[in-house]
Structures are given as C-alpha cells and as structure tokens.
C-alpha cells in the first residue's frame, strides 16, 4: 500500500515535471512573440545613403527595406525584369529614391504606414509626381461599433482593414474598434468569418458604425478540428464538414446515417436494414483487422468509447445476434454539423484513437436574438425493397418430385399456399416528433429539445422507440472573460428484436426459416396451433409469436466546461464529461417453440446487462494571436478518460409457463428445484484509462503559407509498463496559391496542402498484458447439461503488446473557379498500418489457442478522393451539384503468416470460411474453390481442383461515389442523391446455405434459378466462386421535395415548411441477393470479415412526409 502511494507520488511528480517543461517552452514562445509596434515615419522624413548601380527593381526594393522599416508590397508581374536602376545618392529621402525608380520602372508607390504598395503605371509619361508617390499616414482616428444584423449585438473579433493594405485592427469584445487612417479617401473593410464583408469610405466621419449580415455560405466554411475550429481555407488537413442542410433526410435513426455517401473516402455501411442496426464506418480504407474498425466519435468534445453499449444474446441455436448501434442514443434532429477528420495531420490531435479517422458531432445550440420554438413531425411508410424470388408451391412440389418421387411429393404437400416472406414482412410506419426551444442574449444562449421516435421495422414485432431530451446552454461572466457551457442529453431507447442472427446453422434464423419453409404448409393447424414439424425446420410465424426480445438502453451524455480568458489572446478551458449507459437485453423463448435445441418443453430466458460509465477530464490552453502577417494559434492540453464497464449475464430454463411475460417478469416460473435450471452465466467489470498530453501549433504567414504541427502523447492501461505511452506527431503545410496574385482571375481559390503524421490504435480487450485467471462462463449445452465454470487463464498474456500505428501521407489540392461557383478538392493519401493488433494462433503449448500480438505486417491503403461542387444556375431557379468520388487500393504486405476469416454457415458448411488475410492480397480477400459448373452427374466441378485459393476478388470497393443535385425555385426545393460503390465482390452465404438442389431435395424452398440448373441433389455446395458475385451498385438514396410557405402574414409563425422524402428508392446492380451493400459479421476467432451476405435484416424503401414549424 505504501509502495503504491510512493509510486503514485513519483509518477505525479514525473508528469508534473514534464508538464512544466512543456509549459516553459510554451511561455518562451508566448512572450518572444510580443513584438513592439514600430513607430511610423513618412518617407519624406527618412533619408538614406543608397547606391543603386545597374540592378533589378526587386533588388532595389530589398536595399531600401534593409535600410528602413518599410516593406514593399507588389506583384511580380508588375515588375519589368529588363529595367535596371541606376541611382546613387547620400542622404536622399526615400520619397526621392522612389520617384526615381517610378520613372525608370513605370511604377507608382503609395506609403501606408510602414507599407509601400507598388502598382504598375500604364501610361508612364502622363503621371504627376504626386501620383507617382503618395503618402498616407495615420492621422485621422476613426471609431465605431460593429453589430451583427442577426441580433444587433456587438460583434467581437471583426477585422477592420484599410483597403489596399494589410493594416488594421480588430473589434473588441463589445464590437468596438478604433483605427487611425491616413486620409478621408481611406476605405475601411470590415470582415469576419461567417459574415458578408462591408466597405466604408471614411470621408468626414470619425464614427463609423457597421452592421454585418450573416453569410450563410461563409458560415459553412468553419470546420471543427478537435480542441478548436478553423476556417476551411485555413485547414491544413483533409477535413470535411457537413452541415445540417446537407444531411440525408427521411427516417434517420442514428447520426452517421445523416452523412452516408456524402463524403469522398468515407464508406458507411449498416450491418443490416434493422432499425438501430450496428454500423461500419471506414474512412480512407480498411486498415485494422479487429472487430472494431470504426473511427473515433467525438460528441461535443467528448470522445466516445468504441465499445458496444448494448448486449448481444448468447447463441440459443439460431446463432449470435449483433449488438445495436452505439450511436442510436443521439437524436439526429439535435445535430448541427458533422466534421470528418480524414488524414493524419487532422486526426493526430486525437493520437491513439485517430488511426481510423475522427468523426466530430456538434449539436445545436441556441442563437442569440429572438427565442425560437420549433416543432417538426414526420411520418414514414416503409416496405421491403426486394423479396427473394422463391418457388411457387406447385413448381416447388414438381421439382421436389423429380428428386424424391411422387410418394415423397404427396407427403410433403401440406395443401396450403403460404408465402412465408409475406408472413414475416409488413408495411412499417414511423412517427417522429421533435420539439425544441432556444434563444439567447449577448452573453448567454440555451436550447432545449425533446424528441420522440417510434420506428417500426419491416419485420413483424421489430422496431425502435426512442425518447430523447437535450439541453445545451452557455453563459459568460466577468466581462465575458469566463464562459460556462454545458451540453447534456438523455435518451431512452427500446429496441424490439427478432431472432435474426449472424451465423445461424442448418436450422436457420427467422429469415433463413422464412426462405426455406415449405410453401405448401399452412401456418396453423385446424386447432389454431402453429404447425411446427421439427426444431430444424422451424415455423417463422411461431418464431415471432413465441419469442420476445428487447433491449432497453438508458444513456446520458453530458459535459460541462469553463473557458477562462486569462489574457486577451490566451484562454484556458476545462471540460468535464460523462457518458453513462445502462442497457438491459431480455430475450425469452417459449417452451412451445420448436426451434433450435433445448427450447421445446423447457423455454429459455436470457438477461444481459451492460453498464458503462466513461468519464472525461480535459484541460487545455489556447493561444490565438495575429502579428502583422503572422497568425498563430496554439493549443496545449491534457486529457484523462476513464472507461468503466460491467456486464451481468444469465440464462434460465425449465419454465413451467409458456407465457412470455411471466417468464420475463416472474422468474420463479422456472422450476429451480430441478438441476440445470438457472445459470448465472457470468459477470465482469473492467476499468481502462487513457491519459494524454497534446499540443498543436497553427501558423499562417500572410494567409498564404500555413503550417500545423501536432503532437499527442497517449498513455493507455491496455498496455504493459514499458509500452503504455505512444507518441503521435504530425506536420502539415498549406500554400494558398490564390493569395499570391499570379493566378488568372478565373481562380477564386487554389491551395495545395501536404501532411504527414502518425496515429495509433488501442481498441483491444481489457488487460492482455498480465496473466490473469477467471472462472469461465457457464453455459446450458444443447443437450441440457450445464458446462463451464472452470478456472482458467483469461488470455495468453503478452507484456510486449504495444500501440498499433498508422502513418499517413496526404496531399491535397483545393480549388475554386468563377467566384467559387465551381469549387472542390483533390486528395491523395498513402496510409501504412503496422504493428497490427490482432489475435493470432499461439505458439503452443499455451494457455489459450490465440494470443493478441502486434502483427509484423503492413496494411497499405492508398487512394484518391475527388470532390466538386458547382452552382450551375443561380437566381430564381437555382441548381447546385455536389459530387464525390474516391478510389482506394488495399494491400497486405510484409506478412508471412495467414489468417482465415469469413465464417460460412449453414447445412454442411461447418468450419467453412471464405476469406484469408495473406501477403500481397487485399484485406479479407476471397479464398474459394474455382467453380466451373456441374459435371454430367450434377456434381460441382472445380477448375483447379477441390481446394480453396485466392480468386482475385476483394470485398473492399475500389471506388465509391456520391452525387447530389439540389434545385430551388421560389419556395420549392428539390434534391436527388445517388450513391454507389464499385469494384468489389459480395459472397452470398444465403445462396450457399439455402439455394441449392440439395436443399430443395430436402424439402426446403429455394429461388427459381435452382430448378433446372443441372445440379444433383447429392452435390455438396462447398464454398466456391459459385456464390461470389460482383457487388457494384448505384443507389438512388434520397429524393426530397420541400415547400416553404410564406408566413409574412402570419404573425405567430416565422417559418413553415412541408416536405416529402423518399429513401432508398432504386438500386441498380447485377447482384442477385437483396442488396449488395451488405456486411454481416462473419468473424472467425475474433478476426472480422467483410462483404458477406447471410440473411441480414433486409433494407427498406421509405417515403416520409414531414412538417417543420418555427414560432
């Protein structure tokens, strides 16, 4: 105990010292840059000795600059290279020198304080001396206040610049400014990010008040970059910001759906069409090989843990069920913007968790001015997009008869005609209400919101109900030096689940059962009881009616922060955040259900509780200062995050009741006097911590050259003592060519940026570096026996585990033409992930068959991203196009081992797999037999023999694209959004398991193409290219038509909009399954898979009607 305390003190002093050192460096920087303002003298008063002998104009300027405080501002194209200056003089005024140069070089000069602006004179001879050299000195003082048109309050931080110079000042906290101008002809330019620039000629006024109007387009140019924000033109990294108006519309249950397909290089795939289904987000390719490959999500500054917050259910015999999407708790209606940090220079500020990109979600806050009450309602109607084309009852019987004879046909014929797909699918309705009230004053703002969403799934009994409440508020004190803000959300989500799983065996899950069920069987017999032939041929209707499975999740995420302005340019911010979630999953299967083993006559109940508590404490300083041409922004901080997670898991059987509610709410209905009745399967509780130090410097010179340097040191409890800390640096530069003046006028923007950085990944299970022992989970085995409970070593401890690291080189070009009517960007990146954290086969003998290690291999992702946006038409009828395209190439290099994944399930497919990770292949490359048709006997023929091999097919799309068209005409707005993915393959485990002659011969229904395909009923449908298809598709994802009603004559209502939106309207693809955008979790030994289709919850097509009213 004492030793521990000593160690703690030692650690604390050590880190304090490091912290102090860092701060000392920081102060030096801080104070060294406090330049004193130089006194301004007229060029008539300053005399110099100068000797210009046959030298160029630039060199002449340089000599004058060396002898004075003056600086010349010119454009190279104005200077005639052939002109040589000859002028030698002692004690000549600068004015005279300039006059001489003016005559020889056809240039005019204008002194504004210490700057001398140079301009070309086009007709040299007709110019007077006073025109050749003009002098402006600060002798008129102009004062005033800059107001925001939105709320008539003072606008701080507005740049007030003397036109044609870089001289100026900035408004103070109240919007007041004071500036000395050289003459009455001076024009002042007032500009601030997000507002339309204004100009005023000074004239005889000494007080000039200006009101700035909000520039909606400009506002959208702010990007959030983590611990701060920048104007997009100043962003040195690859960052995409998507604002509310560009979000996907319709029935949206979680935030990432808002941006699906909208950004180049960001691939978002739901694991299924189930309301609240889990998601896969891949930014710039797939680099890690663990189950959690998602980017880091940061909500209002609080980084979320990557863990699932809700539980799956143990395998009842249908297979494992996927946990729900952890982002479901956020009400998409509360979100103001989503920023995606793609390259290392942008994500390095999040260091260890930045390797897969960072998604920053910012929620809406109240705006100062009039309080606004907003109510919106929408109603959605959803239907399945594509049912499988199964055999009609008669065709089914005929085909069965050809295999098994007439007697078998008669026995099989149940005499009815049942479309089992129709039995489980329905038209689903969604109702969603949102109410918000927000407002603010000069020094405070607030916003409350309430949301309610009731989304039915297109499968009977499934759905999602969510209540959310949010409060965002902010208030400033002590002359605005201290600002306290808070963002809190509470959400209560109920997921109604149905027995759909990722890896059902030969019995099938609900969807498998609906596909294979005998179409001549009635649902119920004459007594009204479900017809349930056997546990391997379950009745889908019975599966739905005789089971109840729901997840209740209560989650609260909140933060409170205090921001203190220490001196004018230096602020300190402290943030305390908490993310608390309690989730309970209950699944009951009635003893009347004949499905899987161990349910019939016994019943089965699962309870799975997951509780998480993540706390965050962050402190950071921001220093923001502009010195003449140099703009500096620096951030230095510390972050501590603690992740607590506990799980309780139980399983009960031998129920005396068949009432599902009694089973769930009256556990004693299980006969616990029998053995093998209740299993408190297991519980666990873990704590992990992250401690980080980070710093970033953004420097810009003359708004032309920008530099960003970032360093984050992350310490994680997931690694052993020697490897706890990882260091993640990055550097990026940007050159804004458009500011140089040598570009043709056609260019309104042109910037080049390049960055390189290192980011990390630590998303592995808790403590794998120490040897620990736990009692293994108990389990009710299929025969009813209870197994497990033995003491065993948790994992093969690896004290050498260290950070997975990803280095990324990124180069980008941003452009704008014709006043930015056409704008966009081109990016190239090269990402190399090494020391991959992965579970591989242990060198036996060992305590476990697998060991977590840093794989000595490189995963390379390289690609190109294109983005273009164009305002094709403006005016009354306007048309805007927005397109993105990304190309990615993925390859594993320098790896000598092999890892199989992509488990394939179904009858006769035990132990089958379809993917392998190996040298020279893309991750998750398909590894299959090469199918070459059937022989005369109807048995599969394989091109190179009955073995698996790489078949040059990858599940990773090489290209992804999105295209949006927005039209506006008067009060109407219309948008179309297409998205597509190309160059990849999808493996249909569904067809492999269900759509074969053997399945048909066994009395299972199949798709129409199986009949007459030449396959024998005795053929084994082994894993082969027979079930591999191209996955290319183009989807019309979103069409939205809106009408905004004129409310000028209605006092109470300030805005009223009606809209109708269609989601997932059309899919163009050659894939024969339901939807090519599919990714069922077919992981093998915890190594994830990609692009395998196995009876996922199908996607739906949804039409949404909505109204949005502001009061």
């Amino acid at each position: 105990m004492k030793k521990k305390l000593l160690r703690l003190i030692k650690m604390c002093s050590y880190y304090s010292f490091i912290g102090l050192l860092a701060q000392v460096v920081f102060y030096n920087f801080l104070f060294a840059s406090g330049l004193s303002a130089q006194e301004v003298k007229s060029i008539e008063e300053v005399s110099i000795n100068i000797k210009l002998e046959n030298i160029g104009i630039k060199e002449a300027f340089r000599q004058i600059e060396n002898r004075t405080n003056y600086r010349f501002a010119y454009e190279d194209r104005d200077l005639d290279k052939d002109v040589k200056i000859n002028y030698v003089s002692e004690n000549a005024t600068v004015k005279n020198v300039l006059l001489e140069i003016s005559k020889e070089a056809s240039l005019s000069f204008r002194q504004v304080n210490n700057d001398i602006d140079v301009k070309k004179i086009h007709n040299n001879r007709k110019v007077s001396n006073s025109q050749r050299v003009e002098i402006f000195q600060g002798d008129i003082t102009v004062k005033g206040k800059v107001l925001s048109a939105e709320d008539n309050t003072g606008l701080p931080g507005v740049n007030v610049i003397i036109k044609g110079t870089t001289n100026g000042t900035v408004t103070d906290i109240n919007g007041d400014y004071s500036i000395e101008v050289p003459s009455e002809n001076t024009v002042l330019v007032f500009s601030s990010v997000g507002f339309i620039q204004e100009e005023r000629t000074v004239g005889t006024n000494t007080v000039i008040n200006v009101t700035l109007n909000v520039d909606i387009k400009e506002l959208s140019e702010i990007v959030v970059i983590g611990y701060g924000q920048v104007e997009s033109k100043d962003a040195t990294g690859a960052v995409t910001s998507i604002k509310e108006e560009d979000f996907n519309k319709g029935v949206i249950s979680s935030p990432e759906q808002l941006i699906q397909g909208r950004t180049a290089g960001v691939q978002i795939t739901s694991s299924s069409g189930e309301p609240g289904a889990g998601i896969n987000v891949r930014i710039r390719g797939t680099s890690s090989v663990r189950s959690n490959n998602n980017p880091l999500f940061v909500v209002d500054g609080v980084p979320l843990s990557g863990d699932d917050v809700s539980g799956g259910v143990s395998d009842v015999g249908f297979g494992r069920t996927a946990p729900k999407n952890p982002l479901n708790f956020l009400n998409p209606n509360d979100i103001a913007s989503i920023d995606i940090l793609k390259d290392a220079s942008a994500t390095a500020i999040y260091g260890s968790r930045g390797a897969n990109g960072v998604v920053i979600i910012t929620t809406k806050s109240g705006k100062s001015g009039k309080d606004v009450l907003n109510y919106s309602y929408n109603f959605g109607v959803s239907n399945i997009t594509k049912k499988y084309d199964l055999l009609e009852p008669n065709v089914y019987l005929d085909a069965y008869e050809t295999f098994n004879g007439a007697a078998a046909r008669d026995a099989l014929d149940g005499g009815a005609e049942t479309d089992w797909q129709d039995v489980i699918f329905r038209t689903a309705y969604t109702n969603s209400h949102n109410l918000s009230y927000g407002g603010g004053s000069e020094d405070s703002n607030f916003r409350f919101s309430l949301g309610y969403m009731d989304q039915e799934g297109i499968i009977e009994n499934s759905g999602l109900t969510r209540y959310t409440a949010r409060f965002n508020g902010s208030k400033s004190f002590i002359d605005d030096r201290l600002t306290i803000s808070t963002q809190v959300t509470i959400s209560d989500t109920k997921d109604d689940n149905v027995p759909i799983t990722d890896n059902s065996g030969f019995e099938g899950d609900l969807l498998g059962a609906a596909l294979k069920a005998n179409p001549t069987l009635p649902i119920r017999d004459s007594n009204g009881d479900f017809i349930q032939l056997s546990n391997s041929e379950p009745n889908p209707a019975a599966m739905l009616a005789l089971s109840k499975d729901f997840t209740n999740t209560l989650r609260a995420l909140g933060n409170i922060s205090a921001e203190l302005k220490i001196i004018n340019d230096l602020t300190f911010k402290t943030v305390i955040g908490i993310d608390r979630s309690m989730s309970n999953r209950t699944a009951a299967f009635s003893r009347d259900l004949n499905a899987a083993t161990g349910i019939l006559d016994k019943g089965r109940l699962f309870i799975n509780d997951i509780s998480i508590k993540n706390t965050l404490w962050e402190n950071y300083f921001t220093y923001d200062k502009t010195f003449d041409n140099v703009k500096l922004n620096a951030v230095l901080g510390y972050s501590y995050q603690k992740f607590e997670r506990s799980i309780r898991d139980s399983e009960t059987t031998n129920f005396r009741t068949n009432d599902l509610d009694l089973m769930i709410n009256n556990w004693a209905s299980a006969d616990m006097s029998l053995g093998n009745t209740i299993v408190g399967r297991n519980s666990s509780a873990t704590i992990d911590e992250l401690q980080s130090y980070f710093g970033r410097i953004n420097l810009s010179y003359a708004s032309k050259y920008l530099l960003t340097l970032t360093l984050r040191a992350d310490g994680s409890t997931k690694f052993g003592s020697g490897n706890k800390y990882g260091y993640f640096p990055s550097a990026a530069i940007k050159w804004r060519l458009a500011e140089e003046g040598f570009l043709p006028d056609l260019f309104s923007d042109l910037s080049l940026r390049a960055g390189y950085g290192l980011t990390g990944n630590q998303e592995i299970p808790h403590n794998l570096y120490q040897e620990r022992q736990r009692y293994r989970d108990w389990d009710i085995a299929s025969g009813g026996n209870i197994d497990g409970g033995g003491l065993e070593t948790v994992a093969f401890a690896n004290p050498n585990l260290k950070w997975e690291s990803t280095s990324q080189l990124s180069v980008g070009l941003e452009y704008g033409f014709v006043n930015n009517r056409i704008r966009g960007s081109v990016d190239y990146y090269y990402k190399n992930t090494n020391d991959l954290l992965i579970q591989i086969t242990s060198a036996q003998p060992a305590v476990q068959p697998f060991v977590w290690t840093n794989l000595d291999a490189d995963v390379i992702n390289q690609g190109i991203e294109l983005f273009v946006e164009a305002d094709i038409l403006t005016g009354d009828f306007s048309w805007n196009i927005n397109a993105n395209y990304a190309y990615n190439k993925n390859e594993v290099k320098n790896y000598s081992g092999l890892i199989n994944t992509g488990e394939i399930n179904g009858q006769g497919l035990t132990g089958a797999f379809a993917q392998r990770i190996a040298e020279g292949q893309p991750l998750f490359a398909f590894f299959l037999r090469k199918f070459a048709g059937f022989d005369n006997e109807g048995i599969s023929v394989y091109e190179d023999g009955d073995f698996q091999q790489f078949v040059d097919a990858s599940p990773i799309p090489t290209s992804t694209a999105g295209l949006t068209n927005n039209f506006y005409y008067k009060n109407f707005d219309l948008s179309f959004f297409f998205t597509g993915q190309f160059g990849h393959y999808v493996y249909s485990n569904t067809a492999n398991a269900y759509f074969t002659a053997g399945a048909l011969a066994n009395g299972r229904n199949v798709t129409k193409d199986v009949v007459g395909n030449g396959e024998s009923n005795l053929n084994a449908p082994d894993v082969s290219t027979r079930f591999l298809e191209k996955g290319d598709f183009v989807r019309l994802q979103n069409v939205s038509l809106g009408y905004t009603i004129d409310t000028e004559n209605i006092n109470a209502i300030s805005r009223l909009r009606l809209y109708v939106t269609g989601q997932n309207l059309l899919v163009f693809t050659s894939y024969s399954g339901q939807d090519p955008e599919v990714n069922v979790n077919k992981s093998l030994n915890n190594v994830p898979s990609l692009g395998i289709d196995y009876t996922p919850y199908p996607r739906s097509r949804t039409i949404v009607f909505g109204v949005d009213i502001s009061f």
Binding site: Q23, A408, A411, I567, Y693, T793, P849, T910, F913, G998
Partner: protein, 500 residues
C-alpha cells in the same frame, strides 16, 4: 507593470493546473479476475485444486465428433464420413481425412494441435501451483495423456515452461524424447495416485489408468522411437514384458472382462471402466451417426464400411443386437451395427422423410454424393442408458497383453491365442485356431471400434497406408499428421514433417 501582473497570474494558473494534471499512473485494479503474474513477470501459483478441476472439465473436448476424435477414427478403416448432398460437406474437412489428402491448413489438424497442447500446458500450471502430492500425480497423468496424443499424431511435441511468456518460442521434443517424457510423468505419478477399482464413474486418474497408459506406450514404443516414423518397427522383448507388467497391474487392481459387452457403455458398467470424463457427454457418438428420422433424431453422419462390418461373426455380441421396440423412449435404436430396415420406438417401420421410402441402412456408402440411407450406423453408447464417456477400458488392456505376448513377451504360460480366445468366448464369438498379426488387428478392431484408437493400431500393424473403401491414397508419410501451418508460423523451432 500590467504585463508582469499578468505573467504571475498565468504562471500561477499553469503551474497549479500542471500539478492537478497527470495524476494517474495508468495502472488499474483488476476486480473480476485474479492476477497471477508477479511484477517480474514470473509465474505465481494459481489455485491447484480449481485448476485441476478445470483440467478434468477440459476433457469434454475429446467427446466431440470433430478434431482429435476425427483424426484417430476417420483416418482409419472403421469409419467413413460421407458427404450427403448439402450435409456434411463442411468444406471438405471430413472427406480429406478419410481419403488421406489432408494438408497443413486442415482445421481439425490445427484445432487438435491447439486443444491438446493447451490442455497439457494447464497441467504445467497446476504442477507449478504447489499442488498436493495426489494433485501433482493427477496433473502428471493428464499431461501424459494429452502429450501422448500430440506425440502420436504429430511426431513432435512442443514444450513451454510455465514462466515462459509469449516471446519465448517453445522448445520441441523429438518423438523419442517425448516418449521418455511421457513415461517419466506416468511412472512418477503412479505412487501418488489412488488405487481404485473399476467404476462407471472413474473420471479421475487412478493407478490403473496410469498402468493402462504405460502399457499403451510400451506397446507402441517401437513406433514412437523408430528412426523412420513410416516403419518398420522393431518390438523388443523388454518392452513387451513391460506391457505385460502394466497390464497385469491393471488386472490386479480388480479389473476384468464384462460378460455383457454393451454394459460397458452404460451407466451399469462394473468391471472394465478405467478412465472416463464426467464432463461432456457421449451423446455426440449417437447424434453423429443416427438418421434424422430416428429417435433420437441424429445428424445422419458417420457410418462404418462394409469391409469392416464383414469382420464380425453373427454370434459375436459386439456385432450388436436388434432393437426391441416396446414403446419406451429410444427402444427403436439397436446396439452395435444398425443395418437394414429401421424401426421406431413402437416397432413401426421408419419412413425416410426425404423420399417417403422405408428407412433401411445399406452396407455400401460412397464418400461423396451419399443419399441419406447409405451406410451402416454404429451405436455403442445407447441413448437410453449411456454412461460416462470412456477413454480407457479393460478390453483394450486385455488385448494389449495378448499382443505383447504375441510379439515375444513372457506370458507366464498363457499364449496370445488363448487370451484372444478367452476374450472371444466372453464376447460370444467362436474361438480362433491360430493367431497372426492380421487376426490380432482384426480382433482389436472388433473389440475397440469407434473408441478412438484405430489409427494407433493400424500404424503399429503397418496397415494405415493401405487402401480401403473410398481411400486410394497410400502415401507412407501420412502416418504422421502435418504440423499445422499456423503452428509453424508461430514457432520457428518446429520443422514440418517429412512429405508435407
């Protein structure tokens, strides 16, 4: 002046805050597990009693129809895993085992390697956890039991000390080194193991179990220590005498032949059961063979081959008996070999639900494209009265002694033929006039079929690389399995076996 004041202010805040910062040493307490690693990464004792109990529970893996069991039985002439249309294709894992065309990436080869070695390692942990003398002896017995299987299947045996972490490549014993290691474990264990007689619930190690294992090792010593694993093998009189010595020790502990053969596999077994597992269940042995339409409904998988079935006389109890359906549960299932028409518990003809014809098992069975009625099914554990899953049985010990005498051991006046005939008489079969290697191997087949030892016998008798139904490959190097590819990748000390 103002600036100086500011600086003081800033420094106070910064230094103050830096003291608050950085206050975790990033070491968290474990609340749901016991850390058994000391600060210098050496191994610290766990709870030996709990670990031993867990080690016994781990035996249940061997009751599965896949992995270890499949390597010992599907590769032999007594079992075939036919692919039946969409059933049992399983990516070819079964077919390649039967056809002797497996390769180093075969999943059951890998799983067996992992399961056996992992279990052997747990025994090392027990031995390093200050066990009592008996616990140590039991751990050594279990380690020997697992290590014997690794040695038999793969030839090489990797070994890791308990305090060797992931960065240590386990050293590798040659087959003969492994042999010595196993014999040493068993010999050391003997004195501290309980001297218990036969019981259907003998699920912990006893002296008799250790003797039975020692007899098995010495009987196969010629194979395990041969210069060339493919043979030929030289059996020495010394070794055979050791076999006899250990078999006699088992007999002396009170074991004898059970008069009713199938009683051995029931809860009523008395005199032959040496070592079983209480965890797991023998149920997979009936599920893996019975047809869907039988009760219990099986997975319609494995069968025996016609040639193997032909080795049995009709009077031989071991061939089995017809069922006596009386309406009671599972009474429609016979014991032994199930061939021809099958009946349900009420004595009615079972109709194959797939083709609506009477379900009659045929003796012929193809390896692929088999329809559901193909192949003779095998029931030793009967669903109505199955006992614990047996690893060591006296019938095996009895025949080991006979074989040792046949191979030159001192039978003390009893001949091998006399012993074999004693067994055959007990089992209801006619006596043999003479005994040769072929007859001895056949007798072992008849006595021990589907009990997971056939591969060992066929290798010892030199018939493992012959041909039989649906198996044409005769590559001699297949007497050893390949070292799994992923094991080779994980440990540079392993060298792939010849031929792979």
């Amino acid at each position: 002046m103002k600036r100086i004041k500011n600086i003081k202010y800033i420094i106070t805040v910064l230094v103050g805050s830096s003291l608050i910062f950085a206050c975790t040493n990033l070491e968290v307490d474990e609340k749901d597990s016991v850390v058994v690693e000391s600060s210098d990464a050496g191994f610290v004792a766990g709870d030996p009693t709990e670990l031993l109990s867990s080690a016994y529970a781990d035996l249940s893996a061997l009751t599965d129809q896949a992995n270890v069991y499949s390597l010992f039985d599907h590769t032999s002439d007594e079992m075939i895993p036919p692919t039946r249309g969409v059933d049992w294709g399983d990516n070819g894992v079964w077919r390649t085992l039967h056809a002797h065309t497996w390769d180093p990436t075969h999943s059951y080869v890998l799983n067996s390697w992992n399961q056996l070695n992992q279990r052997a390692f747990k025994c090392n942990q027990i031995l390093a956890s200050n066990p009592s003398a008996q616990e140590a002896a039991e751990a050594k017995f279990l380690r020997a039991f697992y290590t014997w299987q690794v040695m038999d299947l793969f030839g090489q045996v990797p070994f890791r000390e308990v305090d060797e972490g992931v960065d240590v490549d386990p050293r590798v014993f040659s087959r003969s080194e492994a042999f010595d290691f196993i014999v040493k474990d068993l010999t050391e264990a003997l004195s501290d193991l309980p001297d218990t007689g036969s019981s259907p619930t003998n699920s912990t190690a006893t002296q008799a179990a250790a003797h039975a294992m020692l007899a098995r090792l010495y009987l196969n010593k010629a194979v395990y220590t041969a210069d060339n694993p493919e043979g030929g093998y030289t059996f020495t009189t010394d070794d055979m005498n050791k076999v006899i010595e250990h078999c006699d020790a088992v007999t002396d502990a009170g074991y004898s032949l059970e008069s009713q053969y199938f009683t051995n596999f029931s809860v009523n077994a008395t005199s032959e059961i040496i070592f079983t597992t209480a965890s797991g269940s023998p149920q997979n042995r009936w599920f893996m063979t019975l047809h869907y339409d039988q009760n219990p409904s099986g997975w319609n998988g494995f069968t025996t081959l016609a040639d193997f079935y032909a080795k049995f006389e009709d009077n031989d109890q071991r061939k089995g008996n017809y069922p006596a359906p009386d309406g009671s549960e599972f009474s429609g299932i016979a014991r032994g070999f199930l061939i021809g028409q099958q009946y349900n518990d009420d004595g009615e003809v079972i109709i194959n639900s797939r083709n609506q014809e009477p379900l009659a098992f045929t003796s012929d069975v193809p390896l692929a494209g088999a329809s559901t009625e193909k192949g003779i099914r095998v029931i030793k554990y009967h669903p109505s009265d199955a006992g614990q899953y047996i690893f060591l049985r006296y019938g095996d010990v009895f025949l080991m002694k006979a074989e040792a005498i046949m191979r030159g051991g001192d039978g003390g006046g009893t001949t091998a033929l006399e012993m074999v005939n004693t067994l055959r008489t007990t089992r209801g079969a006619s006596t043999l006039a003479s005994l040769d290697e072929v007859a001895m191997l056949d007798e072992r087949g008849r006595e021990l079929y589907w009990e997971g030892i056939r591969r060992v016998d066929q290798v010892r008798f030199g018939t493992f690389t012959d041909t039989w139904g649906e198996k044409t490959n005769t590559e001699p190097f297949r007497v050893l399995f390949p070292i799994p590819q992923q094991a080779l990748d994980s440990n540079p000390n392993l060298v792939q076996n010849e031929g792979y």
